[in-house]
Symmetry: D2
Subunit: 282 residues, 4 copies
């Protein structure tokens, strides 16, 4: 496939969904020039949302981090995080009891706003688990891996309760060269060891896209053919967008390297509508 | 978990989703008494839908088969099949060209009503594939397994086009004792061999539930807490319903045997809200 | 890694193991010049064996096919097939009863020479399975895929007997462009559907290499460092050879394309000691 | 299957292979009476070996731990550990450079005795990796999980070197109620994340059994039909023994619970020759 300029594409759509990492920002801060994209969309009355597999922080905090980087236009209501889907699940399906979690105390926001009591796994005693009604895996920070991952494993062997995974990514970048294992990678190991099925939220699952689409439909009517998903990862952003039935653009500003894009498209069979250098409109 | 009478449960809900096989019917015809369930729901103004991983026939034909069995109340508009999701994908994402398929000519209905040309894989020549724009796996009948599954595999090696799977079940029952491999099982083998990602539709995926929910929302407003999913299979019906955020009832009239239900719930971690003998209201 | 001439490598070893397909022959017959390799090895008193994931024919028949192609030096005793490992298993672990199989009547040779009665699956009646003591998956030819694969599946649901897979390859080439699904691919689908563990023989499993090594040790003493495995497939020939502790050479005359070799080595982490164009000594 | 007394079985064999954990010992020390088994075998001139997926300590240390528990007859030469296979691989295939590892300094014994320099991953700087020639995963103790597992992951992304896994178990018991994730579980997560193939040693792989068998053949001739594998785990001990072609006995003194044994045999298709309460001869 040929590389197209994002300029020649975006104006065909009424709404654009962006992945965050590798599209709007990277380990270094904002992708240079991306603020022009956001401002152009606003000027041309094209709506946009950020769809992110990130449950480490609330939408308010995520919006505030964009503001600190220099884009005040990405407000809280523009952000759809996998944590919001996990919260929705907890609200409908768990309802009561105490929810224990792996993650920072900020990430527990998603449980608390579902109206549930929370307890970090490090505070849990395996002798006192009667009130524990669910486990939520939110973030790879905020706990001792050896002690607390093993504690989750033993809790799961003792009590049959749902396990909710609020971020399905296996890794995330920490510098230009290095990555860190995300909670989605840890959850995959736990699921394999206990042989149980976890409830997982995040791209490429359609629920993420549906959540955003429903949100739009609350205020206006729009067809799927007028929405574009822009992402840097075939297996999450592009696969998910394709399956949901919207157009997709792969950008090369994140973890898909320019010289591998066509090979990866061929070998995975995940075919975007467009490939662009980046999502910058200058 | 204790076994509850379906009578004590159903009236809490405004809408009930039923799986077809093992809940409404089995290899032998209707599950005895199930017509009373459908009629009671209609009398009490409780809405219902059939959510089925079946792309072998159109909703019209499926409704007609219920009519032949003696329930004329299950009309075409009550049936949501995974084939309808596949059609929706084809309409939004494929749009043009000829779609080749594995399945009977009846199953090709889902492609034709998406406005696309169809060609059974047996008629395809691998020397003339320029116009082929997608592959759809619909049904395990209607083709020569050895010749035509191999032909799909080679087509996929020659041309990078989307593969749509319209039924994710691995097997289906043919008699009390015997099962047959479904197209979902064949598709899993092909996906493993070519290493590509197929676009799969069917429970437990949320899209199936969302499709039904959207359909309801077109005419009325209803909260997820007023919907119940009734199914005989933990890994499709119950997992999917749970993840979508609705209540779930496992019935023992299909492929989950009464003496295994609690063991399976414990070992898979897929926990229904209720277990019932069957969905019969007498 | 650089491409080395096979000439500069072979003479460091006392024994060379060759994969058959893609190294000695291809869809077209012998790889041009490969007869010189065999003759040079014999002249220089370097021993050699063919290690093949092929259970469709006996070593006698395989040797005879090389003779017909023009190399009479590849005699029966030079061929180690995965079928021979399956036979060894049947001899030690099954011992009695009737063994049913998927494959041609030639492939049944491996069961018969284990001293067991055989019955092609097409002749089996599911009402009369008392004497059936094992299932062997030998070849993708010689049966009706739809009818007979389903019959195996139902037999496995009715009776808990070992399933032996005598060839773990997923596909094999039939022309320059096309492949066919091998019995190893079919077996993977069946294993996934029934959730049971089959007993599988073939590279990359060490047993294949050990069988050859033991055979050599019967007549002479030799260290592993004096053996080289030559193959065209990283995931079977090279992975297996590496794990067994012998040196490995990847040749590009089969299914690893020259422009992909280094990429595949990097992405799979399967690292041969050498890469060579082919195994031809001219 | 019926439960048989181990007394009625053992004397048919010339050599007995025992799994360690769940057969000879448990979280509490020796299995009561097991010392009689060892002494009876010695008196009756039946040879025995311990086959253990344990690379945390050397055979000398393992033997010394049995001595401390009260069985001085289990000497170093009776113990075959998966660490010994990893060492054999390192000796044949790595040969030079520095090997970095996850595990305690005791576990590094297996690398040092292969004649290689070792460096605990915590001491490694990712800026100085030129001399690193392999990674060995030995034990879940002796490092900081978050920091050092991530360091291994990044090392693997930077340099394509073999990863050797010296224990394939996913968990091990620490008390009657609780388990801990073993290095085999961590290795499975890493392998999935990087998409590379690791070199893994341990039951059920045949190499473990072959290593023991070869060891016996050095001093005497014995047929496989005269060897019995005794283990508490279907997926490692029994599957591995079956595939290697020797008789197998499942004991219920470890992680297979008496009321689940027959269900597990049916659902996994892994069929031992015998089931025994335990391996105690009184």
């Amino acid at each position: 496939m040929k590389i197209r300029d994002f300029k020649s594409i975006y104006s065909k759509y009424d709404v654009i969904f962006f992945d965050a990492y590798g599209v709007l920002k990277n380990y270094n801060g904002l992708i240079p020039g991306i603020e022009h994209t956001i401002r152009t969309l606003i000027q041309e009355d094209i709506d946009f949302y950020i769809l992110t597999n990130d449950a480490s922080r609330s939408p308010v905090e995520l919006a505030s981090s964009y503001k600190n980087l220099g884009i005040k236009e990405i407000t809280e209501d523009k952000i759809i995080s996998s944590g919001m889907l996990a919260r929705s699940y907890l609200r409908y399906k768990v309802k009561k009891g105490t929810v224990t979690f792996l993650g920072t105390s900020e990430s527990a926001h998603y449980i608390e706003t579902a109206g549930l009591k929370t307890m970090p796994i490090r505070q849990l005693s395996l002798d006192d688990i009667d009130d524990i009604s669910a486990i939520v895996l939110l973030d790879d920070e905020g706990f001792d891996w050896k002690r607390d991952i093993n504690k989750i494993l033993n809790l799961l062997r003792m009590k049959n309760i749902p396990v909710v995974v609020a971020n399905t990514d296996f890794v995330y970048p920490v510098t230009e060269e290095e990555v860190s294992i995300a909670i989605g990678g840890i959850s995959e190991m736990l699921e394999m060891i206990v042989g149980k099925r976890f409830i997982k939220f995040g791209k490429p699952d359609s629920q993420m896209f549906m959540f955003a689409y429903e949100h739009i439909l609350e205020t206006r009517s729009i067809g799927k053919e007028k929405i574009l998903m822009v992402g840097d990862t075939l297996k999450t952003d592009i696969l998910g967008g394709n399956k949901f039935g919207i157009d997709t653009a792969l950008v090369l500003s994140g973890n898909t390297l320019p010289d591998q894009a066509n090979f990866l498209i061929r070998s995975t069979g995940i075919i975007p509508n467009y490939i662009c250098e980046d999502a910058v409109l200058t």
